[in-house]
């Protein structure tokens, strides 16, 4: 009986060991590759270059197809470039990249539905959101303070509104690092773009003349 059990067990055992070792090595590799280094200089350079390319494509004076204008368009372009730099490994990056498509989808839906209904829906949802916020401030309404804050954090990180807490925390970790990189890159870019012109307006006369 034991031998009958042991033979298939032995075969399975070796296979399992091999599979496990393979999986262990794979998982170790994947764990090493998982979180990108948002602090590295290379990552910032990649982001900056892609941002410049994207900004050059932003139409500032005639945004006919899309709604955002001016600063909003730049902000959304910068966020999209950040999501691209994240290579879609994280939820927030995928949510950013798909948000535009979803917005267009919603717009088409609203166009089909009656404008009065949609207006009421939009205002209703906005008002409900505000009332929810004010209610949340009253302690009596939602006692678990931590859960309240988790919901707020979920609302801040794109694509994490309905996610459970550990997911939100993980996404927030990556999102904060990415945001810091974005701020660094954009401030450097803004300095270079505007610092030159600011310097020229108040600078000395040209040396070679």
């Amino acid at each position: 009986m034991a031998s009958v059990i042991s033979n298939p067990v032995g075969n399975m055992n070796s296979d399992r060991i091999k599979r496990k070792k393979k999986r262990k090595s794979l998982i170790k590799e994947s764990q090493q590759n998982q979180s990108q280094n948002w602090k590295s200089e290379a990552q910032q350079q990649i982001y900056s270059s892609k941002l410049i390319q994207a900004l050059s494509q932003v139409s500032l004076n005639s945004p006919s197809p899309s709604a955002p204008r001016g600063g909003r368009a730049v902000r959304e372009a910068a966020d999209r470039v950040l999501a691209v730099a994240a290579k879609g490994r994280t939820r927030w990056s995928r949510a950013i990249l798909t948000s535009r498509i979803k917005l267009k989808f919603r717009k088409r839906k609203r166009a089909r539905a009656s404008p009065a209904v949609t207006a009421a829906l939009v205002t209703g949802s906005n008002r409900a959101k505000k009332s929810r916020v004010s209610i949340l401030r009253l302690k009596s309404k939602s006692l678990p303070a931590v859960q309240r804050k988790v919901k707020v954090l979920g609302g801040l990180v794109p694509g994490c509104r309905k996610q459970p807490l550990p997911v939100i925390l993980e996404e927030a970790t990556d999102y904060i690092a990415a945001l810091e990189m974005q701020v660094r890159a954009m401030s450097a870019l803004a300095e270079l773009l505007s610092g030159g012109s600011a310097g020229s307006s108040s600078s000395a006369p040209p040396p070679s003349s």
Binding site: S6, V9, G10, M12, N13, I17, R19, K20, R23, K24, I27, Q31, A42, Q44, Q45, I46, S48, S49, I52, Q53, L55, S56, Q57, V58, L60, N61, G70, G71, R72, A73, V74, R75, A78, K149, V152, L153, L156, P166, L169, T173, I176, L179, Q182, V183, S187, A190, L192, L193, S194, G195, G196, S197, G199, S200, S203, P205, P206, P207, S208, S209
Partner: protein, 360 residues
Amino acid sequence: MERIDGTGARSVQKTPEEEATALESIQFTDEIHRLISAPSDNASSFTALLEMPPTQAVELLHSPESANLISNDTFKPPHMEDFKGRLHFPTNIALVERAARFSVFAGEGSNNTNIEKNSVETALNDSSANLKKAVKSEPAETESSQPLVSDPTVETKSAKRKEREKKAKGSAKKSKTAANESSDDAEKLPYVHVRARRGQATDSHSLAERARREKINARMKLLQELVPGCSKISGTALVLDEIINHVQSLQRQVEFLSMRLAAVNPRIDFSFDSILTAEGASLMDSNFPSIVTPLMWPEAQVSGNRQPYQQQWHFDTLQQQVWGREEVCHNYITPENSLLSYDSSANSATLHPNQLKMEL
């Protein structure tokens, strides 16, 4: 066979699990050897905890072990002799099997890190640490491989083993949480100090909750390190407050910077191709030397000044094509300033109407 009241339901699953356990135990033979050398007081307490008569414990040991031993000859002699005298080893196996019932995959990785930090107690900690090192990569698997049929049984064993070991280790530090369970433990077991973990093991809900909490705490720790000034704060709510503030401030900064870039953008002519091909050479050679020097930026526009430009931008890895684009971009940032001093009116004329073209 009847083991413990709580494990009645699990006894049905025992036989297939036995083989799986046997498979598992083959991998941990080194740790098992070390377990054998663990102090015997733990052993006796473990069997007492299990509320199993020693004979049953030995039986437990022998049934998985026999399959094990037959398949692997080298381990045969040490196991049989060592285990007969010591009861802690079978209890470990039994514990593993029992722990398998309460498989909680998530958070094993965090459990591992926590466990290793909290190792304080007995020699059992060493053995369990060894076990954990062996199964360190397992938690990642366990988290991701839940739907698989063959793997969960194997992984639950290791996961449960870690859970069990972790509880044994963390008892000193987690006395507060243990206090809640110790009341339950006191009813079941005479030993309270370490057995708080054992009490947890019998309750699948608390096990799962503990694993979940460990996972969440590990992630909160990472976040705290990331957000400045959070490591001093204790308490989840306040830390979350800080995190939310930080994210909001970062998003506001991005907003301001994007407004700033948008203000700068209209002055940039992005019709690179047309202007570059038509007048690029003339622009670079004739006009810019007179305008270049006052500007930090156009310093790099002239081909001779590419080095400082590169350093400013840190774009060492960029290709030439992108370089060209940026150069032209920088060239056209100066139109407002340069228009005043431009000699060629043709350039200024072309710059204005072309401001909003998107060629790229």
